[in-house]
């Protein structure tokens, strides 16, 4: 069910949000969702609302912070930006991710003969 999917994605989503904010500067929720959607080629297109669950968690962990601002269409919206601790966390998570993906990558290259091709 959806629950298992989001469980797997939770950590990944955190990383994506942090990375997006680190690269693009302060953004509101819609912008972040839009950005991730574009970059992931809609692979992560769950309902967009769930981005706010991730955002509030990251705010509470003090990895990002939020200030009220005005959106392009003159609506009151929260703008999120990454904090210093967030930067550190991003670095840790990115390294972790690369290590895992490296391991997975090598694993996938294993052939029935037992040797890496």
């Amino acid at each position: 069910m959806a629950e298992t999917k989001s469980e797997i994605l939770q950590g990944t989503l955190d990383l994506m949000v942090l990375q997006t904010l680190a690269a693009m500067g302060p953004m509101h929720g819609y912008g972040i969702a839009r950005r991730i959607e574009q970059l992931s080629e809609n692979a992560l297109a769950v309902n967009q609302g769930t981005i706010y669950l991730c955002l509030i968690r990251l705010v509470q962990k003090k990895w990002i912070k939020a200030v009220w601002g005005t959106s392009e269409n003159n609506r009151k919206a929260k703008f999120y930006s990454i904090t210093k601790t967030g930067q550190k966390q991003l670095k840790i998570e990115a390294e972790g991710w690369e290590r895992v993906s490296g391991v997975i990558g090598r694993l996938l290259q294993l052939t029935p003969g037992g040797k890496t091709s």
Binding site: H28, Y30, G49, L53
Partner: protein
């Protein structure tokens, strides 16, 4: 950590954060719509797609709350709110449940607070676990030791940092306080100079005794107890250094013991002590014989066992060294705590088990009620399941309800316990140590809290686990009764009732045994008749300086009282029964005994008329007369036990004993229970008061036909010419002494009887509830039976039989359990054995009777069912 804080803060700011989220989502939605419009969708379609993309806003809001806040607290609050709504709807049930939990937890809390004070907490002294009671096995029952042994043991032992003692033969009301205010008889305990130091007690004012303050007979200094300081001197600090008139002599107050130090509650429960005087360890006090109760403080690292080993050797050696003075020293060491509370240990454990049984019955009862409620709530529960409530959530909701109930009950229970313990601490007529220290403290409250939680969980668990078994579809469809779970449900409920009856049976058998023992104790032939006996101390003042003058005083006092209207008999004694004892060695002239085997007898100094007054039968010879004085032949009266011991098979009257250089036995009397009511009297001897000076108190005993209210005034008026200083409060009745001696037993029996009564009521209610429920469930069946011609009488009989089957099964289990359990009660029983048929049969009769009554009402209701209505209603 800060993450948790953030979530707690968020929980409190939830409405604000909800608004924030709404605003964000609004912005998000409008941006989505705009984008969709840009992509060329119609405004309506743009909106619909945007909403789809956003997802379910309501569940998102819920998820947001859970992510940022404290979801556990949220559900708890929800469960509680629901619980209160449910319980408000069913006030009768809630009140009943709270009431019985309150009674159960109140009783448990009281028992625990007593247990905590007497068994769990250390004695109220510094490092109390290192304090040791050193009994002398050679001196039964007082376990006292001669001064010379204390001095030698002090020097020779390596186990104790210090040995201290108090003079165990102090008399209640020994010191008469005169001077400012009303004259008053005070009780003083002579203690060794280091007594307070060994116990680790510090004075709250002034100081304790120093080495120099040790003179015989005329202690020049005293230490006041806190209660005397408060009562008599109003906490006046100027009392230190002041002089008081005690027994006509001036003594100086040097200090006051702290309020936390209560000598009597530890060493002499059920009595009062006002003063401490110095007890010198000198050849003079040594010559008094076995008089001192000894305590010691173990050196660090020394165990009780190693100290005992050392004292075994020491005792043998010292006894040999002191062979000339007659007394032996056979030290038996026990921790002071064991000495003080050890005898009550079993009784307290029995009480604790009883109260535990009561709690189990309470739980079974409430489980039963909750099961019945579940049956009635099946629809509500089915709807909740249909709306998506999970199994866990339902169980949690049910447990929340039961824990809320037991929590509310616990609040009531604590109130009951506060009242109960307050009453307990004021019961100074009960001879139970440390009772005054019983209180509801933090550990007791912790116990109550745990108790409330466990109780709620216990009685809520079975009903809660039953809930998910409800079949939603059938229940919602079936408009009649929730037929699905009801079979299993009613089986469970019957099992619970059987359990209740079995536990109640256990309690009743135990209580029955103890009540029968208590009745046997009350029935004991004390050797005297305690009814209509009043007593007051009338020691001659120091003006009566010679024996001749004192004898004249006794003559006059007896004369004055005897001539008073309403007085049947009167006499004098130095020690009242059950109040204190001393024993001396005694032998017939010419008889030779081994030292270990030397006869001993309890000694009483009495006047003529004492035996008649007390109702002690004179078996042979004559009573003392007023002519048995120092100038006539030295005489003695002994009891039949001593007569048999000294001259088996012979006539004791006319024989000579070695006492005081030769006394002739002029009479033999019956034995008197002097130590405890339960204990057989041993050898006893009586010396005439006019022939000896070896007594420290004179108690006047009067048998009257006067009403209790006027005894004191009448006797006081009669004695006016002799002593104008007799206080009306100084009168006591002998019955009070007997009651006090049986008070610990009475205390346990009363508590147990209360518990059993409560258990019986609960069991009856349980039976009633189950049978009523089954009648209600079977209304249709009963209607059909009646329509088919079953008579009301047969129907009633059928239902009562059903009740009796339940009770019978419970009884069989309970009686079986009782046969095993009551064996451990043996040490508390008196005059009955643990298989006492009367207690068992009585229990069976009581339980069957109660079950019949509990079953009768539903049976009668069933027989009044109108078959037409029963069949029509569906």
């Amino acid at each position: 950590m800060s993450y948790l804080v953030a979530r707690i803060v968020a929980w409190f700011r939830r409405s604000e954060l909800d608004q924030d989220l709404d605003q964000e989502l609004q912005a998000h939605l409008s941006l989505l719509i705009e984008e969709n419009v840009r992509r060329g969708l119609s405004p309506e379609q743009a909106r619909r797609e945007a909403l789809l993309k956003m997802g379910n806003v309501a569940s998102l809001r819920e998820a947001h709350r859970e992510t940022r806040g404290l979801p556990l607290v949220d559900t708890l609050v929800q469960d509680l709110r629901y619980t209160f709504r449910i319980l408000k709807r069913d006030t009768g049930f809630a009140l009943f449940a709270i009431l019985i939990v309150a009674l159960g937890i109140g009783a448990s809390t009281i028992v625990f607070s007593v247990l905590n004070t007497l068994l769990l907490r250390p004695l109220p002294f510094k490092d109390a676990d290192r304090l040791v009671w050193i009994a002398n096995k050679k001196c039964v029952p007082e376990q006292t030791t001669q001064v010379a042994y204390i001095l030698d043991a002090r020097r020779a032992n390596n186990s104790f940092t210090e040995l201290a003692a108090y003079f165990a033969y102090y008399n209640i009301g020994d010191r008469k306080l005169t001077g400012d205010g009303d004259p008053e008889r005070l009780t003083a305990v002579p203690v060794t100079q280091n007594f307070f130091h060994v116990l680790g007690v510090e004075p709250q004012a002034g100081r304790f005794f120093n080495e120099d303050e040790s003179g015989i007979d005329s202690p020049t200094t005293v230490v006041l107890t806190d209660s005397l300081w408060r009562r008599r001197f109003g906490f006046n600090p100027d009392i230190i250094g002041k002089t008081l008139q005690l027994n006509g002599k001036a003594v100086r107050v040097v200090g006051v013991t702290p309020a936390s130090f209560d000598f009597t509650s530890v060493f002499a429960p059920g009595s009062r002590v006002d003063l401490f005087s110095p007890f010198p360890l000198t050849p003079e006090t040594d010559s008094w014989g076995n008089t001192s109760a000894v305590i010691g403080r173990l050196k660090p690292g020394v165990t009780l066992e190693s100290a005992q080993a050392e004292f075994d050797i020491l005792g043998t050696r010292l006894s040999a060294e002191h062979k000339s003075n007659g007394n032996e020293f056979q030290p038996v060491l026990s921790s002071l705590k064991t000495y003080v509370t050890g005898r009550l240990r079993l009784a307290l454990i029995v009480l604790a088990c009883a109260v535990g049984l009561v709690m189990l019955i309470v739980c079974a009862n409430l489980s039963n009620l909750l099961l019945a409620r579940n049956a009635a709530r099946q629809k509500e529960i089915a709807i909740r399941v249909a709306l998506g409530a999970g199994r866990r959530r339902l169980i949690r909701q049910m447990l929340t309800e039961s824990i809320v109930l037991s929590g509310a009950g616990a609040v009531g229970g604590v109130l009951l316990a506060v009242i109960g313990t307050r009453i307990l601490t004021r019961l100074d007529a009960i001879r139970i140590p440390l009772l005054a220290n019983v209180q509801i403290d933090l550990s007791v409250l912790t116990f109550t809290l745990a108790m409330a939680f466990v109780t709620g969980l216990t009685f809520g668990l079975i009903p809660a686990l039953q809930v998910p078994a409800i079949r939603v579809n059938e229940t919602l469809k079936d408009s009649n009764r929730g037929a699905s779970g009801s079979k299993k449900n009613s089986w469970l409920r019957s099992a619970l009732v059987v359990t209740e009856v079995a536990f109640a049976c256990l309690l009743l058998v135990g209580t029955g045994l103890l009540i029968r023992s208590f009745l046997r104790v009350l029935d004991v032939d004390l050797g005297f008749q305690p009814e209509r006996l009043a007593t007051i101390r009338i020691d001659p003042s120091s003006n009566y300086s010679t024996q001749a003058k004192r004898n004249a005083y006794f003559d006059e006092a007896l004369q004055l009282v005897q001539n008073t209207a309403g007085v049947e008999a009167c006499g004098l004694t130095d020690v009242l029964p059950l109040e204190g004892d001393r024993s001396w060695g005694v032998a017939g002239v010419g008889q030779v005994y081994e030292r270990e085997n030397y006869p001993e007898a309890f000694v009483r100094i009495v006047s003529n008329g004492y035996f008649k007054t007390m109702g002690i039968p004179l078996l042979a010879g004559r009573d003392f007369t007023e002519h048995d004085t120092a100038n006539s032949e030295q005489v003695i009266i002994i009891n039949d036990t001593l007569a048999r011991r000294l001259w088996p098979g012979q006539d004791a009257v006319g024989q000579m004993v070695t006492q005081d250089g030769g006394r002739r036995v002029v009479g033999v009397v019956g034995g008197v229970r002097h130590v405890t009511v339960e204990q057989e009297s041993g050898s006893e001897m009586y010396l005439p008061m006019r022939q000896t000076t070896d007594f420290s108190a004179v108690e006047l005993v009067v048998r009257t036909s006067l009403p209790d209210t006027s005894v004191a005034t009448t006797i006081r008026e009669a004695l006016q010419p002799l002593d104008s200083n007799l206080g009306p409060k100084e009168f006591r009745s002998i019955q009070q002494l007997v009651d006090k001696a049986t008070s610990p037993r009475r205390f346990v029996v009363m508590m147990l009887a209360g518990f059993s009564g409560f258990a019986l009521i609960l069991a009856a209610l349980g039976i009633y509830a189950v049978i009523s429920y089954s009648v209600q469930q079977r209304t249709q069946e009963i209607g059909i039976r009646m329509a088919l011609g079953a008579s009301a009488r047969r129907l009633q009989a059928h239902i009562i039989l059903q009740t009796l089957v339940l009770a019978g099964i419970g009884l069989i289990i309970g009686l079986g359990g009782s046969l095993i359990m009551t064996r451990s009660l043996a040490a508390l029983l008196f005059g009955v054995n643990s298989y006492d048929p009367a207690s068992f049969i009585g229990t069976v009769i009581v339980l069957i009777a109660v079950a019949s009554i509990a079953g009768y009402f539903p049976a009668r209701r069933a027989s009044h069912i109108d078959p037409i209505n029963a069949l029509r209603s569906n």
